[in-house]
């Protein structure tokens, strides 16, 4: 698996775009999930797809998103979290 920062970014944006039914070019680092029209079910589905793609486990609790050790404020924060988890779990 290619775990370079660029490759993670490309793959994560692809997953988020697919969930939002958008082109990857429409998804920017500043976008929030709300901007992209991704609801709570869409979020857990995206997290599942990301876990599958990178073989990582994301500590996300849908009951208390703000208390999870995974920041979903924007695409950028999600990416940062994934980079950290990939490094921790495959480093």
């Amino acid at each position: 698996m290619d775990t370079s920062v660029d490759s993670i970014k490309t793959r994560v944006i692809e997953i988020i775009a697919e969930q939002a039914v958008l082109e990857p070019s429409d998804v920017t680092l500043e976008s929030t999930l709300e901007d992209l029209g991704i609801d709570s079910l869409g979020l857990v589905e995206s997290i599942f797809a990301i876990e599958e793609a990178f073989d990582i486990s994301i500590p996300f609790n849908a009951n208390a998103p703000q208390e999870s050790d995974f920041d979903i404020t924007s695409v950028a924060s999600i990416l940062k979290g994934i980079e950290r988890l990939v490094a921790e779990q495959h480093g």
């Binding site: 079910l41 589905e45 876990e51 599958e52 486990s57």
Partner: protein, 403 residues
């Protein structure tokens, strides 16, 4: 009490992917049962079923929908679209607030369970898709129908094994009959033709390896089917006011419990439900021209059902027609009564009695007119639909020709 009529019907099953195709297959006595096309079929002892063929879910639903719709939900929505479209109803405002959906189902999202058990047990993975629970729950189909058609009144799922659909339609009938709802969407569905679903049935040793031959002396068991049947039950004055086409009248029903055995049927329990349905519908024995039998093709059911009909009808038992369409579409378990109600509608409205196919040898213990092998034309005023479930839970519906 309000009169209840049927103003829409929809289906997908092994005989066809809509009502007209299913009627045509029933008229022609076509068999929808064939080799199963499922993963690991080589490890099954039973390799046949009434599978829906030529069906591509992606032709009917988008990717997001399919992430949430198990096969039984897909079938339900396809049949509901046909039924509601035929009824011409649109649900908004006061009608939407009172109209609901009651469906029968036994196994829930068994394909979803099967696939995800493979993921965790066979493939050793520790993660499953997040929608496993909302996909497999038994009420998923009823909930998605409520969402797609904006039905906001009483809605739930009934699970009584092979009688689920009949019990569900009985509840829908009661809600309209008693005035609680002007319209109810009802019926049922099932999809357990997956490795685990068929393997479980194999365990009981009641399945046929070659064909479903109800009431025939050489019968050797049941054959599973899959699909859905959905109907619009509407209060008669409501339907009349808007000039809706009426397919048949639902005149009454009865339920009974054998309180005896978890798998063996009882003549008494079945006869009580049959008599109760006639009493509820205020019809005499001699008014009944057709019975859609439970007719599973097992040794136990067919002789018990024949004895129950003889008991309930006395001398008239020799004059009425009783067929089992399971011989053609298989046993849809929790959805079976719904698909079989179509045969009752065809008898009442079109005057065509669906046959019991694969009938080869008379059985003295099933000595009724089972309409062997070839459909028959006959004028029928009242039809009954029998369902006798594992666990001894019986439900019989009575329909009248609408005039």
């Amino acid at each position: 009490m309000k009169r209840v009529v049927i103003t829409g019907a929809g289906t997908i099953n092994a005989l066809g992917q809509n009502v007209p195709d299913t009627f045509e297959a029933m008229r022609e006595g076509r068999c929808g049962i064939g080799p199963l096309d499922i993963p690991d079929v080589d490890r099954l002892a039973i390799k046949i079923g009434g599978q829906v063929q030529g069906y591509d879910p992606e032709d009917r639903f988008n990717r997001q929908q399919l992430a949430l719709y198990d096969r039984f939900t897909q079938f339900t929505l396809i049949a509901a679209r046909e039924a509601i479209s035929q009824s011409g109803l649109e649900f908004s405002g006061a009608l939407a607030a009172r109209a609901g959906v009651v469906l029968g189902n036994s196994g829930g999202g068994m394909t979803t369970l099967d696939e995800n058990y493979r993921t965790v047990y066979e493939d050793g993975k520790n993660r499953v898709h997040p929608f496993v629970v909302p996909k497999l729950m038994n009420n998923a189909a009823a909930s998605h129908v409520s969402m797609e058609f904006n039905l906001k009144g009483p809605s739930f799922t009934v699970s009584t094994a092979c009688a689920s659909s009949n019990h569900a339609m009985a509840q829908a009938f009661q809600l309209v009959h008693g005035g609680a709802a002007p319209v109810m969407v009802t019926g049922g569905s099932e999809s357990m033709l997956c490795f685990g679903g068929v393997k479980a049935w194999e365990g009981l040793r009641v399945m046929s390896k070659d064909a479903c031959r109800p009431f025939s002396a050489n019968r050797n068991g049941m054959v599973q089917g899959e699909g859905a049947g959905i109907f619009v039950f509407e209060e008669y004055e409501h339907a009349k006011k808007r000039g809706a086409e009426i397919l048949a009248e639902v005149a009454g029903f009865a339920m009974s419990s054998d309180a005896a055995d978890i798998v063996m049927p009882s003549k008494n329990g079945a006869a009580r439900a049959i008599k109760g349905a006639m009493k509820d519908a205020r019809v005499n024995c001699s008014d009944v021209g057709y019975i859609n039998a439970h007719g599973t093709g097992t040794a136990a059911n067919d002789k018990t059902e024949s004895a129950a009909v003889a008991d309930a009808f006395g001398a008239h038992a020799d004059k009425l027609m009783m067929s089992s369409t399971k011989s053609m579409h298989g046993h849809l378990i929790g959805g079976t009564g719904a698909v079989e109600l179509l045969a009752c509608i065809m008898a009442l409205r079109d005057g065509v009695i669906a046959p019991t196919i694969n009938y080869e040898e008379p059985d003295p213990e099933c000595a009724l007119d089972v309409v062997p092998n070839v459909a028959r034309e006959a004028k029928v005023d009242v039809a009954l639909s029998n369902a006798f479930a594992f666990g001894g839970l019986n439900a019989v519906l009575a329909l009248k020709r609408f005039t």
